[in-house]
């Protein structure tokens, strides 16, 4: 066990994948000598060379498009998108090629491409540096989408993503990069909890609280605060956003009868809508209240002096918990 930052854990996982499989190639802007703007690839080009860790010209569509060609040739490209807001120029290649080629070719061509995306806000950055675009990808068939919340999972899941034969978007909660945790580098990714499965972080009886990525920490804080008030929250870290491991969530909601789901992305059409709709379908007779979504607003990501209003915090989540429990809350007395 080693104590390391979230960022370092990804770095260690990438290193392991580079070591274990000569077909793994890292590609992206500034990932070489600089080690990426977040230093996630620090030292890797030095150790593996410029053919394994490739600084690319500044063109996101080309990064993904050439990754497709490399996958055609049997490689496993691991692409870094510098910030969430810079993934859109590559959207066509991701949606029309990466996601669809396996289906298109009746399984003949595999696209084992991992797309690393530092995402989410809370770091005081200007526009385009704090977005949460995950719902665009969870709605795109052919892709798998994951997001992890702690260094150990970061380390393990990046390796699972890279060895997965399907394309995976790996969303990294950038405001947690400097959080530290224990990481067992001896973990065998194949034996660990599969990346498609959610994890129950705290067992609880009153409300199921579903979170992923950066808000898992917030959710755990909320659970601690709620416990002080005698409310028992079951916090679930989704980990896999597409597909969502509904079995785990369903089992929880059947016990608690109440669901709160939280994310930074805007509410309308966000992943919370999908979770709420699917859980309602599967647990209708167990639900004591409508699932509650505590999310970012339906706005472009705001300038940083306002971002803490947009981002769900502890108190907004607890207000949602109160709503789920039918306790007094900010919307008490409002109809529809």
């Amino acid at each position: 066990m080693t104590r390391m930052t979230f960022a370092r854990a990804i770095n260690a996982g990438l290193r392991k994948s580079l070591e274990n499989d000569p077909k793994v190639i890292l590609m992206g802007e500034d990932i070489g000598a600089l080690g990426g703007v977040f230093r996630i690839t620090d030292g890797l080009q030095k150790d593996f060379g410029t053919h394994r860790v490739v600084d690319t010209p500044l063109a996101e569509s080309a990064i993904l498009g050439t990754a497709v060609g490399l996958a055609y040739r049997g490689y496993r490209p691991v692409v870094e998108i510098q910030f969430d807001g810079f993934i859109y120029p590559a959207f066509d290649q991701i949606v029309s090629q990466v996601a669809k080629l396996h289906y298109r070719t009746q399984g003949a061509v595999r696209m084992p491409i991992t797309i690393r995306v530092p995402f989410g806000g809370g770091i005081g950055s200007p526009e385009h540096h704090s977005e949460s675009p995950e719902a665009y990808f969870t709605h795109t068939s052919g892709l798998r989408v994951v997001s992890v919340s702690n260094p150990q999972d970061a380390y393990t899941v990046i390796q699972q993503a890279i060895s997965c034969d399907d394309p995976v978007l790996y969303f990294e909660p950038k405001r947690r990069y400097h959080d530290k945790g224990e990481v067992d580098e001896g973990v065998d990714p194949a034996a660990a909890l599969p990346m498609g499965q959610a994890r129950v972080l705290t067992q609880g009886t009153d409300v199921t609280l579903v979170a992923y990525g950066p808000l898992v920490k917030t959710a755990l804080d909320a659970a601690a605060a709620a416990a002080d008030e005698g409310i028992s929250l079951e916090v679930i870290d989704l980990r896999s956003l597409a597909p969502v491991d509904y079995d785990t969530v369903v089992a929880s909601v059947r016990r608690t009868g109440r669901l709160v789901v939280t994310h930074e992305a805007g509410q309308s059409g966000g992943l919370g809508a999908e979770v709420a709709a699917s859980i309602t379908e599967r647990c209708f007779n167990h639900l004591e209240a409508a699932p509650v979504r505590i999310t970012g607003f339906d706005i472009p990501y705001p300038y940083s002096k306002l971002e803490m209003h947009h981002l769900p915090g502890l108190d907004r989540i607890l207000d949602g918990v109160d709503r789920a429990l039918g306790r007094p809350n900010s919307l008490s007395g409002l109809e529809g």
Binding site: A62, V68, P89, Q93, Y103, Q106, G107, R144, D166
Partner: protein, 389 residues
């Protein structure tokens, strides 16, 4: 801090020698429209091994793919195909280049390169699978080292470039070839592909068939200078070839392939040709183009000029012509048969191959749909025509 409002007396401005427009390329030609073999100081070299026999075989291939085109168009008219994108007029560009490739080269093409697929050895039934609505890929790309033809304009140029990066990493001497149209040159992807190819000096050939039209848009809307000039600005050498001259196309393609194999990096080829037919069978070119233009180009037909050359050489015997016709008919027949006897897919195929790993979302939908089909009292596999109910 101030704003300049002088509005310089522009009439008096000196000529601007600094801004040199790109130099026009000479069109490389080895066979004139009249079928005369003209010699070329540089490019004769690249086809010096092409024997009379090979010339005959090039003629045969071009004739066969034209016949395929005719047959496929007929199949579409008869309702056997939903759509077909004819290559009429572009036979030399496709056969000349396609025949220059090695088996371990890899092709990334658009929807129109059926002639190239023919050179790659495609199964004839596979040629029409997509257009009948029976598949999204006619063939397994690895079976003939040619990717599923691309519909998203220009996207495949990046795939070709990435594939070439892989060739380079492997230390192999194969070449990746991207086929695309004149219209595609406007897409960001094609330009980004040139950036990457030049930067990494990878073994890729950009084969642009300028057939003068992108559906209804003339090539001058995409560029008012020659397309071959585009590449120079990326540091990529380019060649402008008479795309209706099968020998010249072969020569430039071989040169480009050879350079790539020897580590010389990418080459851009503009094959100047003409789309003699509609964009697809769904298109009506009379709405946007002049019949005269078509006539002009008919005079430069790629097949007639080889026929004329063979004639000059005394090779266009009645026997040979009959052989070619028979061959074309046989191919057309096989394709038609393959098309019309193709089995329909099974309903549950709709769920296959989305992922190569299990997926709980989709598995559930599949299970539900099977139950749904079964609720009509038929086993899922037998319900082909029932889904729409």
């Amino acid at each position: 801090m101030s704003t300049d409002e002088t509005g310089q007396g522009a009439a008096a401005a000196p000529e601007m020698a600094e801004t040199s427009p790109a130099v026009a390329h000479r069109l490389i030609q080895l066979i004139t429209p009249a079928g005369e073999r003209v010699s070329h100081p540089e490019f004769d070299f690249w086809v010096k091994d092409v024997s009379d026999e090979q010339l005959c075989s090039l003629f045969e291939d071009m004739t066969v793919i034209r016949r395929i085109d005719v047959e496929a168009t007929a199949l579409q008219r008869q309702g056997e195909l939903a759509l077909w994108p004819p290559l009429l007029g572009q036979e030399a560009a496709q056969i000349g280049s396609g025949r220059s490739l090695r088996q371990d080269d890899f092709v990334f093409s658009s929807y129109r390169e059926n002639g190239v697929a023919y050179c790659r050895g495609v199964d004839l039934t596979d040629l029409v699978r997509v257009w009948r609505g029976n598949a999204s890929s006619g063939w397994n790309p690895y079976a003939i080292n040619m990717a599923t033809p691309q519909i998203i304009i220009g996207a495949q140029t990046l795939h070709a470039t990435g594939y070439a990066m892989g060739i380079q990493y492997d230390g192999a001497d194969a070449v990746s070839v991207a086929y695309f149209g004149d219209g595609a040159t406007s897409e960001g992807d094609v330009n980004e592909a040139m950036v990457f190819a030049a930067s990494f000096q990878v073994p890729v050939v950009f084969f642009c068939t300028n057939n003068h039209w992108a559906i209804s848009e003339p090539v001058r809307l995409q560029s008012h200078i020659q397309l071959a000039d585009r590449a120079a600005g990326f540091g990529i050498p380019s060649l402008r070839v008479d795309g209706n001259d099968v020998l010249a196309v072969m020569a430039v393609t071989r040169l480009a392939l050879d350079r790539a194999r020897r580590g010389g990096g990418p080459t851009f080829i503009e094959a100047v040709s003409y789309r003699m037919g509609p964009h697809t069978t769904a298109d009506d070119p009379t709405r946007y183009r002049d019949a005269n233009e078509l006539e002009d180009w008919a005079a430069k037909d790629p097949i007639s000029r080889v026929a004329a050359l063979l004639e000059r050489k005394g090779l266009l015997t009645a026997d040979f012509q009959q052989h070619v016709r028979d061959q074309a008919d046989a191919v057309a027949h096989r394709m038609r048969k393959g098309c019309t006897t193709m089995p329909d897919p099974e309903p549950m195929d709709v769920f296959r191959h989305v992922y190569s790993t299990p997926n709980s979302w989709l598995d559930r939908q599949q299970e539900h749909y099977a139950r749904y089909l079964a609720s009509f009292g038929e086993p899922a596999g037998a319900a082909t025509q029932e889904g729409a109910r």
